[in-house]
Symmetry: C2
Subunit: 480 residues, 2 copies
């Protein structure tokens, strides 16, 4: 049998689950073999599933096998959920059966900080290296591949997309796969790799570099064993496939927790600062920031500068909007004399003056003004992108037809891109329960690139432009 | 007639609205006399309302008067919404009628940056000073007093409470009054004072210092004319009534917008940094942060340190939670040996080890463990406050009775305060539409001090402890 490398783990024709009980136990909580099995079946996984349980004939309606050796075909991917002590034995069975792709889900290894955990680490590492196992984990959930209907998470979409997520935390995989689709983010591969005892992030990056399903790579990292290789892989990927990284554990409390979570050495802040400067990886600090940057990479054309015209309403909102953009590193330049003159010709203004950010609420009342306003701003040579800063109350307090007209104009112009300029929306939460989230949803339904807040918009746009600036300055680089 | 000072403006027996049309005009948008009138009537304002309109006999069902002079009683508060050019004439009528408390809502004065606006500023300032008018504005919405059913904002509660809000932006008053109640924040006085041409923030602070309705003062400021007086007033107030300030316009773009919004000179960042250090005012940067700090001041007993034990679940969540606390300046100390030993006696742990933050999801499955866990942490001498870090998915994916039991234990223990320690909750948003907001709501309904995210919790607790530390170090100071 030809070994297909990691490809066979991501698109397996057969999966064995070792350590699958007939019923869910009480505690401790966490993933069980049965839960993996049920996720796979609920998602209509396209290959065969082999429960391995010497004490059962049938598990969840599927024929069970006493051991890996008794499975009647080659097993492409083995999920191991037996207790830590029993893992070495199972791995030896994998080697014997030639099943090279193995997920060890079980926790209780080096991350415990105890002698026994460290000893087991040594044992399984040796078996894996000698036997050529591509072992992912331990203490992880392995591979989630929507295009193979190989689903590991609850309440997530199985629609495939161009985003890979490589993460040391299965919980954060769960969050991103749950949150992504609302912002139009769908996944090629989601990789939860836990303690990284054998396969580490550079191995997955190597695969993703040539994965035709993947255009954007997101990562959640606590530590990396081979920093040099990691740096080199990311630097090599970045011009072709942007790499968005949430590096956790760079604070004393985060670092202490990381040692017990994945046994990682989280490293030094300055080393990581220089890593980001030198590789062009895009730095984020939460799932939301990761989603915002990814959405921006998916939807906007490259921008090396993000000089913003911000269109909103309300004096205090405009002042604080200017502050927010400035604090997040977005330029809000003065409008050109011509732009100012033109706007003042047709805009009924509260304070008889136009500055950027623009207090232009009247344009939301008469949408012909809105159209002229956006076109006028787009023609300004100092402006790269226009942010429509929309109060959530619009959707709850204004007449629905009026809001529909506003969304129509913004959606239409954002697709036309007058003077080649891009248009996005940011929602201003006014504190009314649920209003902001639901308005953002409607704007996205109208195919407008929408951020849940101006802070989130500014942060994502600044990072997006920073990425394209970096790539543009590389020798021979042209950006995506 | 005895002049009751500002008291008569906040609790007027009669209000005249000068410049009230029979119907709403088309544009520009913004406040009209008729809108003020309708808000007052809808809220069942307890005094008399006199519409002033020489061309109408009746406005919105109320008898109209041709001029202030024709009103049959003393007018305690005059709302002026006539065009800027007509404002000086109306102010002279106010002086003549002895109506000293006047709101000029109209915009179009110094904030336009034009010669005519500046000239009008001079004219109305002179009339006000000579005539002894306590003029608020121009370009503002004046006073909102729930206890007098004197309501200026839409979709706000008219339940009175101990929080005053003094703001140069009417829009931000609208946001805070709308958002506050969901976090248990209700208002004594909300003061929108716009350009501060005559009455400025120190004048309002002077009143609030002795206002028995007010315990906590929040402010949104763009500029202050008399910085020395302001500093002195805040420093004097701070030990008795905490002052929470959002100072806007300290960035280039915010500052430029502030000049056109309220004509304010926003000042220098270093000057304001030193103002905050010296007065003990609590600095915030959004309505949400203001609400979080205010909620904390209302609900928690004084804390000079906020050494936190954080109880959550999921390895990655615990690592990133540690990072969040560290970045927001909260201490997450190691647990004492005794605490660690006790927890390990009864907690089924994922990774067989206990560090702070605590990966203790199993305690949410068996609430007797939760109770013992919280009590054990509370007994730790290194811990001041316990944060229960709860995933939003609990409320959507877990059995309702189980979630009810968890909330019951947390609510009960937070009221008991075992070992004198305080317990709060922070919701972890997993990205499922609406889930986090709605779970936070349920937790507050269960009378648990709840923050919408761990970032918000950390930020508010760090500022809260900083305030009490400041006050505690004042000569003779003891904190609230």
């Amino acid at each position: 049998m030809q070994d297909r490398g990691l490809q066979q783990a991501f698109h397996p024709r057969s999966i064995a689950i070792v350590g699958v009980s007939r019923t869910e136990g009480q505690s401790p909580p966490g993933y069980t073999g049965l839960r993996f099995l049920r996720h796979l079946r609920d998602a209509n996984f396209e290959g065969r599933i082999y429960p391995i349980n010497p004490k059962a004939d049938v598990v969840a309606g599927l024929k069970a096998y006493p051991s890996l050796a008794s499975v009647p075909e080659h097993v492409d991917y083995v999920i191991v959920t037996v207790p830590a002590q029993a893992v070495p034995g199972v791995l030896q069975d994998c080697v014997a059966a030639g099943a090279l792709d193995v997920l060890v889900c079980t926790a209780g290894f080096g991350e415990t900080g105890e002698e026994e955990g460290t000893r087991l680490d040594g044992v399984i590492r040796e078996i894996a290296l000698k036997g050529g196992l591509r072992l992912v984990g331990p203490n992880s959930l392995g591979y989630h591949v929507p295009s193979a209907r190989m689903v590991m998470y609850m309440e997530t979409s199985s629609t495939p997309g161009p985003v890979a997520f490589v993460s040391q935390s299965g919980g954060i995989c769960q969050m991103y796969t749950m949150q992504g689709p609302s912002q139009g983010i769908f996944f090629s591969k989601v990789i939860s790799y836990g303690n990284a005892l054998v396969m580490d992030s550079p191995d997955f990056l190597e695969y993703l570099a040539t994965d035709p399903e993947t255009d954007i790579i997101c990562m959640y990292i606590e530590g990396v064993r081979d920093g040099g290789k990691f740096r080199q892989m990311v630097a090599q990927l970045t011009p072709e496939k942007p790499v968005v990284i949430w590096k956790a554990g760079l604070t004393p409390w985060g670092s202490r927790a990381a040692a017990t979570h994945t046994g990682s050495i989280t490293g030094d802040r300055e080393v990581w600062d220089s890593f980001f400067r030198q590789t062009g990886a895009i730095r984020v600090k939460s799932v939301s920031e990761m989603a915002d940057v990814t959405m921006t990479l998916q939807r906007l054309r490259p921008l090396r500068r993000a000089r913003v015209a911000l269109w909103g309403g309300g004096g205090g909102n405009i002042v604080t909007a200017g502050d927010t953009c400035a604090e997040e590193g977005l330029e809000v330049p003065p409008l050109s004399e011509e732009t100012t003159r033109k706007l003042m010709e047709f805009m009924p203004l509260v304070n008889q003056i136009v500055v950027n950010p623009i207090d232009g609420i009247s344009a939301f009342i008469d949408t012909s003004l809105l159209r002229r306003g956006i076109e006028t701003l787009a023609a300004d040579p100092n402006i790269d992108v226009i942010i429509m800063y929309l109060p959530a109350g619009m959707a709850t307090r204004w007449p629905a037809e009026q809001v529909a007209r506003i969304m129509e104009v913004i959606s239409e112009l954002s697709h036309q891109a007058p003077s080649g300029k891009q248009i996005v929306a940011a929602v201003r939460d006014e504190g009314k329960f649920g209003a902001a989230e639901s308005f953002a949803h409607s704007l996205r339904e109208a195919d407008i690139t929408t951020y849940d807040s101006l802070t989130r918009a500014s942060r994502a746009l600044a990072r997006f432009a920073g990425y394209h600036r970096f790539v543009g300055q590389l020798p021979g680089g042209s950006g995506r």
